[in-house]
Amino acid sequence: MEALLASVIGLLSAVGIYLTLRLRTFPVILGLTFLSYAVNLFLFTAGRLTLNAAPIVGTTDAPADPLPQALVLTAIVISFGMTAVIMIMAIGGHLQAGHDRIDLDEDKA
C-alpha cells in the first residue's frame, strides 16, 4: 500500500508541477489543483497508514491518528476556496484582457 500511495502522490505532483509551468491560466489552475491533491494525500500519510482502524482510542487494537485527518479537512477547505478565488480572477482577467496568457510581458507600458 505504501508503494501505491507513494507513486500516486509522486504522479500527482509531477502532473501538477508540469501543468503549473504552462503559459495559460487554465492549465496552471488545473496544475495547482493536482498539487493540492498530492499534498492532501501526503498530509494524510503523516499519521501512518493503517487499515480498518477507527480514529478513536479503545475501539480497535491500534487506533488511527485523528489529527492528520483534521489537518487534511482544513487543507481541503482552504485549497477549495483558493481555487475558487483564482478561477474567478482568471475569468475576470480573461474577459478584461481578451486572452488568458499568464505572463505580463506583452502589455508592458
Partner: protein, 500 residues
C-alpha cells in the same frame, strides 16, 4: 488566562463580518467602523506590549485545551512588537485610503483590510505551526482581494500570478508540516522545540527536508532570492495604499523565519545545525544586490518602491542569518524601521503617481505640488537608503556591527548596495522633481487631500521618533533578542502536558 491575547484576531474578524453584513454600500459607516476598530487595535497592541514586557511570555489556550493538543496563541515580546507595528501601519494606511479616496474605488476595501489584519495578527501571535499556515491563508486571501482592488486588466492579471505563486507556497508549507508531524507527532511550536533535540538519528534527514521547505515558504513570503519574482509585479501593480500595507506582510516572512530559527531549528540542534544560516546568508546577500540594482534600473516609481522592499528584506534576512542575540536585535530594529520606510515610499509613490499624467520615470510630466511632495520623497529616500539622519542608518550600523567577524565579505556588500540605492533614488528624485522646467502650467491639477498627506507625514514622524528613541528601543530589543535565543520561558508558558 489573559483574554486580550486573542483580541487582535477576534476584533478585526468580528468587525469585518459586521461591516459586510450591515454596512454594505455605506462607505462612510464603513470608514468610521474601520477606523474605530483600528484605533482600538492600537490600544490593545500597546497594552499587550506592556504586558509582554512586564510579565514575559504568556500563552492563551483556545477552548482551554492544554497545549500540545489544542491550539495555543503565545504572546511574547517579539509578537507583541509585531502586532503593535501592524496596528500602527494599519492606522496610517486606513487614514491614507480614506484621505485619497482609494477605498471608494471598489467594494469591500475596509472589510478586506480588517481580514488582512486578522490574518497577520494571528500569524504573529500563534504558537502552533499548522495554525500559522491557516493564518497565512487568511492573510493571503484578504491580500488577493486588496491587491486587485480598483480593478483593471493588468492589475487582475498580475494578481493571478501572485495567487498562483502563493498557492504553490501553501502546498510546500503543507508538505513541510506533514513531514514535521510525521517525525515528531506534534505541531505545537514549543512542543516541537522540546521534542526535536531528542529525535532519533534516523529521522534527521526527514527533519532537514522539513526545515528547508519551511524556510523556503517563509522566503516566498519574505521575497528572498530566488523566490522574489512575485513581488515587483504584485506590489507595483497593487494600489499604492495596499502596497504600503503589504510592507508589513513581507515582514511576516521575516518574523516566521526568526521564530523558527530561534525556537524550533536553533543552530545547536544536531539534526539541522548551521544548515539554515548557510542557506540564508548567500540568499540575503543576493536579495540585497537585486533590490539595489532594481532601484537603479526601475522604470516607474512603484517598481522602484517594490525593489526597495526587496532590498530591505535582504538586509533584514542578512541580520537574521547571523543567529546571534546581537544580530537578532539589529534585525528587529531594522524590521521596525524598514516596515515604516517601505510603507512611506509606497505612499509617496502613490502621491506622485496621482499628481502626474503617467507613471514612467522621465521629465515629460511634472508633479503638481512639487515642493511638498519632493520633500516627502527626499525623506522617504533617505529612510529607504539608510542614510543619516533617519533610523535606517542606525539599523544598518547595528547590522554591520553584528557582522564584524566577517567584515571583509559582508560590509562591502551592504555599503555598495546602499550606495547603489542612493544613486537610484537620487536619479528618480531629480528626474521627477528637478528636471521638469515648467511645473505650474502643464502639471495635473493638484488633488486636495489633507488627510492623505497627514497620514504620510505621521508615518515620517514615527520614523523620526524611532530615530530619536533609538537608545531605549535598542535596549528593549536587546532584551527581546536575548529571550528569543533562550526560549525556555516561551516553552514554559505553554505548560506542556507530559505525554507518557
Amino acid at each position: 488566562m489573559n483574554h486580550w491575547i486573542i483580541a487582535p484576531v477576534v476584533l478585526p474578524a468580528f468587525v469585518a463580518a459586521f461591516m459586510v453584513l450591515t454596512m454594505r454600500g455605506h462607505l462612510e459607516l464603513q470608514r468610521i467602523a474601520s477606523l474605530a476598530a483600528i484605533v482600538a487595535l492600537n490600544a490593545i497592541a500597546v497594552g499587550l506590549l506592556w504586558s509582554a514586557t512586564a510579565h514575559g511570555p504568556e500563552a492563551y489556550f483556545m477552548g482551554d485545551w492544554p497545549a500540545p493538543f489544542g491550539i495555543s496563541l503565545v504572546l511574547d515580546r517579539l509578537s507583541a512588537m509585531m502586532v503593535a507595528l501592524l496596528a500602527f501601519v494599519a492606522l496610517i494606511t486606513t487614514l491614507y485610503a480614506i484621505g485619497s479616496g482609494w477605498d471608494a474605488k471598489g467594494a469591500h476595501f475596509h472589510p478586506l483590510l480588517q481580514f488582512l489584519l486578522m490574518g497577520v495578527g494571528g500569524a504573529f501571535l500563534t504558537g502552533d505551526a499548522f495554525n500559522l499556515f491557516v493564518f497565512f491563508e487568511v492573510l493571503l486571501i484578504a491580500s488577493y482581494g486588496l491587491m486587485i482592488h480598483g480593478g483593471g486588466a493588468r492589475r487582475t492579471r498580475a494578481g493571478i500570478q501572485y495567487v498562483a505563486f502563493n498557492l504553490v507556497g501553501s502546498s510546500l508549507f503543507l508538505i513541510a508540516l506533514a513531514l514535521l508531524y510525521g517525525v515528531t507527532g506534534t505541531l505545537n511550536m514549543a512542543d516541537l522545540a522540546a521534542k526535536l533535540p531528542n529525535l532519533p538519528e534516523g529521522d534527521a534527514a526527514l527533519l532537514r527536508v522539513a526545515a528547508v521547505m519551511m524556510i523556503l515558504v517563509f522566503a516566498i513570503k519574505g521575497a528572498l532570492v530566488p523566490l522574489q519574482f512575485w513581488l515587483p509585479g504584485t506590489y507595483a501593480n497593487a494600489p499604492g495604499v495596499v502596497a504600503a500595507l503589504f510592507a508589513i506582510m513581507t515582514k511576516v516572512g521575516a518574523y516566521a523565519t526568526l521564530r523558527f530559527v530561534t525556537l524550533v531549528f536553533p543552530t545547536d540542534l544536531p539534526a539541522t545545525g548551521t544548515l539554515i544560516p548557510a542557506f540564508l546568508l548567500p540568499a540575503a546577500l543576493v536579495t540585497l544586490a537585486i533590490g539595489a540594482l532594481g532601484i537603479l534600473g526601475a522604470t516607474t516609481l512603484p517598481r522602484l518602491a517594490a525593489f526597495a522592499a526587496i532590498a530591505s528584506m535582504g538586509t533584514a534576512f542578512l541580520a537574521i542569518a547571523h543567529m546571534s542575540p546581537q544580530a537578532t536585535s539589529a534585525a528587529l530594529f531594522y524590521i521596525l524601521h524598514s516596515t515604516l520606510a517601505t510603507a512611506l515610499i509606497f505612499l509617496v509613490s502613490d502621491l506622485v503617481s496621482r499628481r502626474r499624467a503617467h507613471l514612467r520615470l522621465d521629465v515629460a510630466s511634472p508633479v503638481a505640488q512639487n515642493g511638498l511632495i519632493a520633500a516627502l520623497f527626499l525623506a522617504a529616500a533617505v529612510a529607504v537608503a539608510g542614510m543619516p539622519p533617519l533610523s535606517g542608518f542606525i539599523g544598518k550600523l547595528l547590522i554591520l556591527d553584528a557582522w564584524r567577524d566577517q567584515a571583509f565579505a559582508i560590509w562591502p556588500a551592504v555599503l555598495v548596495s546602499s550606495f547603489l540605492m542612493l544613486l537610484g533614488l537620487s536619479r528618480a528624485g531629480s528626474l521627477l522633481f528637478w528636471k521638469p522646467s515648467e511645473p505650474a502650467e502643464t502639471a495635473e491639477p493638484a488633488p486636495h487631500e489633507p488627510l492623505a498627506l497627514t497620514a504620510a507625514f505621521a508615518l515620517l514622524a514615527m520614523i523620526v521618533a524611532l530615530t530619536l528613541a533609538a537608545g531605549p528601543v535598542t535596549g528593549w530589543l536587546d532584551g527581546t533578542a536575548a529571550s528569543l535565543h533562550d526560549p525556555a520561558a516561551y516553552i514554559a508558558a505553554n505548560r506542556l502536558e507530559v505525554v507518557p
